[in-house]
Symmetry: C2
Subunit: 506 residues, 2 copies
């Protein structure tokens, strides 16, 4: 078979896989937005069927042979297909040594961990979850030991945790993270202490005035529209937890959740998810044609959603822009609130227990705590039994607060039920976007552009500079490509110091 | 293979088919409610894949052999599996003589007919659609000629149209319909003329006051709740045209459409679709276990939706019940409207051109016109070229009005793009429910039960008497089973005469 014939075979199989995954995407979207409570069980069988068919296709022998063939002759392929050949080869290496029995064993561990986590959280009792966390750590280490080395990989793995990170943030290492997070602690912890000591009064009385879902929905559509979301190629729904789903090239769904007494929650969910959606909607069409749409890391995706949520959405320029609409949609909330009061309330700092509700300043600290504990578990320098004490100690040290219960502390996140190495990606997003924000500032006056409603210009800049190569470059290469500089948290930290220094009159 | 082994094989295949059809149901629901405009194309490929896989399963040779085996030994099966054996056997007979090439040829004719109908309706020009209608009539006759006779079938087919009817309303014949529709004309046409000559004034000024979607949605959920819709096993959405989708045993979806200036439109859509939904939600579980959920005819289904929409939903008892809620949800509409004014407005008679907007009195006449024209085309006593003139003539004669354009006349419905024999089922529904309404009246004071909010009692009666055997009996047997009487339109006609005689003081 010629390389072109092999490529054709690969394409045919990926096309079928794409349709199965498209079907599964719709069912899974339906599940989270529309499916009634008691319909869930039967719907599970649908997802199982679709994923089983997709699994069979991905294990098709001829397909695997064709993948190996295009990888071996990748120099004959065009630029995009070379990327595809590497992606497929890498996927193959990652699963090569894992038998179906092992695979089954692993998922049993994770499923059980999820179940015990749910119960332990309900009971607010870490000891119920401890044996499962032990098993997860052991399993993830076993997964690392089974990985087939990738000769093309440039990453220098120095420890097991480096491999774990790699699954979520291609090319990121503990060497980079350790340095990054030390810098963060050095600059954020003292800044937070100053903020906490500040006498600055911020008005918040209007933040919890009840509003109706339809008012929030009207605001949501307005925000998506302002950002440049293409509603002919996407839609907005509601779900328990907001998410974005890139269902297909021309079908990107965002969801939000309306809390009657917290209009800002849905407002910023929509802006955050809207950022993810712009990333999905404005990918190069060539990526779809060559089946290379899954290269974006979690950190890259979060960088865009948080760029819109925090850097743009909580800026004075943006809040001035949306102020009249807020007054129109929520007259009962906005009353005599000024634009400056709105800006201050949307940027208030409040060290608290729950990561997902954290403000922009404290968020990174929540992540660092999880990172440090994960690393210690993997290295063996901490035991599972010590985790709650470590958690308390670090919250006290970095944020100045002590979670009163396991539910508000160590049991709040589900991530440790399926792996380790995920959390750092959340923090990296802020650092990536701080770097490209500064690059963007060389091309336009961002605040002025936003305040005058020029967000389409912003979207187009992001498309050309940030979105275009995200699927083809690993994050460190990608951020160098955008900014011409090496990855650093400095831009982010300087931004925090300037912003909160001014806001809290430090 | 023993009969039990064959049954097992049949079940296994039907279980897989069920999951594929469940997946397709979700995608198709998504398509009509949520999928963005430009996502439709790619989503089409998903539906094509799912239906192709289902088609392959239904053509599986071992499955077909097993179906034949359980049919041949059906006396060894329990009551439910005997029904299953007959259904599968009948499906097989219906498609036995149709080669894939023929099948393709047929669908090409129907697809083209749909395309030309869209264009002809846009141009309001029947002559553009005429060649397609000619082709559809020819094709449907060919389909009839290819049908393999079913030795078990009790229906006496006297003409091609009897076979066409049978596809939509199992066991219904022209002999029954001719007699039925003659009676209808004899009694409805003079009644309508009297109504039209009546001096009765009905207040309608409040019917077109603008309201918001969220107000209509609130009313919709209230109505579903009152009717006994189980929202843990179903949901309500919006779509261009309202519909009900029985997605799975525990997942029934209804949709509606909100028009800002016509609150009654969505109100009665919800009640109508809610009726369909109660039928789906309250099927015997055994039917699902034995895969016999598709036996309900269109007429049976419409009988239930129209029972709720017209017999219950437009009754004084029901309107008195919902009156306080209407005042609460639509204060701007209801102002000083009395319960009697509400009743009169919801039952106003207005002979007009469009079938889907017709009132309860004129609706049957719209159907009769289509039936008479269809029959004439199949028999050859009318030519396609004569259809517009026939249409005009009959509207003038039965309703006293003359459609000014083809779009408001002969081109309004899409049904003739895929077959003939469908329309009568719409009229039969009203006649079935009039018969079981009278049976129900022997067991309870319906108006009083409804007015006091006792619709759950109604639902339970319907479940036990109307829903239970609908999948297992053909409509004429089913209505005899419920009422102890032979099918007749008399109950319906007497109801119309009494109701409109009183309302219009005739």
């Amino acid at each position: 078979m010629s390389t072109q014939d092999s490529l054709k075979k690969v394409y045919e199989n990926l096309e079928k896989l794409k349709v199965y995954s498209h079907a599964a995407n719709i069912v899974s979207y339906d599940r989270q937005t529309t499916c009634p409570q008691e319909g869930m069980g039967e719907q599970g069988a649908v997802l199982a069927l679709l994923s089983n068919e997709a699994f069979k296709l991905s294990k098709d022998e001829e397909f695997i042979k064709a993948c190996e063939d295009i990888y071996d002759h990748r120099e004959e392929l065009d630029e995009f297909d070379q990327v595809l050949a590497r992606i497929e080869h890498r996927d193959r290496l990652a699963t090569k040594n894992i038998t179906p029995e092992k695979e089954h064993e692993f998922s049993m561990v994770f499923n059980r961990a999820y179940d015990t986590w749910l119960k332990a959280r309900e009971a607010s009792d870490f000891s119920q979850f401890a044996p499962s966390l032990e098993a997860v750590v052991k399993t993830v280490k076993e997964q690392v030991s089974l990985r087939e080395p990738d000769p093309d990989c440039k990453t220098e793995y120095k420890c097991d945790y480096d491999h774990m990170l790699d699954d979520y943030e291609d090319g990121m290492t503990t060497a980079i993270l350790d340095e990054t997070f030390e810098k963060c602690k050095d600059r954020i912890v003292p800044l937070l202490k100053k903020v906490q000591a500040s006498k600055k009064q911020i008005r918040t009385d209007f933040m919890n005035i009840p509003v109706k879902d339809y008012q929030q929905e009207e605001l949501g559509w307005y925000l998506l529209d302002v950002m440049g979301f293409d509603k002919n190629r996407g839609n907005m729904g509601t779900s328990e937890h907001p998410f974005t789903h890139g269902i297909a090239l021309n079908d990107t769904r965002v969801t939000t959740h309306y809390y009657p007494n917290a209009f800002a929650s849905s407002m910023y969910s929509v802006i955050h998810e809207g950022g993810h959606a712009l990333f999905e909607q404005n990918q190069p069409k060539e990526n779809f044609e060559h089946f290379i749409t899954t290269g974006k890391t979690l950190g890259q995706h979060e960088s865009v959603s948080r760029f819109y949520e925090n850097r743009i959405g909580r800026s004075r320029g943006f809040l001035n822009l949306v102020y009249p609409k807020l007054k129109e949609v929520f007259p009962e909330v906005m009353g005599d609130v000024t634009t400056e009061q709105l800006y201050e309330a949307m940027n208030i700092v409040n060290a608290d227990f729950i990561r997902t509700e954290a403000d922009e300043l404290t968020y990174t600290l929540h992540i660092i705590i999880r990172y440090e504990i994960e690393r210690a578990l993997v290295e063996g320098s901490a035991k599972v039994v010590d985790v709650p004490a470590l958690w308390q100690e670090k919250y006290e040290k970095y944020l100045g607060i002590t979670p009163p219960t396991d539910r508000l502390g160590v049991l709040q996140d589900m991530h440790w039920t399926f792996g380790l190495g995920y959390f750092p990606t959340y923090a990296l997003g802020n650092m990536y976007n701080a770097m490209y924000y500064n690059r963007l500032a060389q091309d336009m006056d961002i605040e002025k552009t936003v305040e005058s409603g020029g967000l389409l210009k912003l979207r187009d800049w992001m498309t050309e500079n940030v979105f275009k190569k995200a699927d083809r470059l690993c994050p460190t290469d990608w951020i160098r490509d955008i900014t011409g500089r090496e990855f650093t948290p400095d831009d982010f930290l300087t931004y925090l110091e300037e912003k909160y220094g001014e806001l809290y009159q430090l």
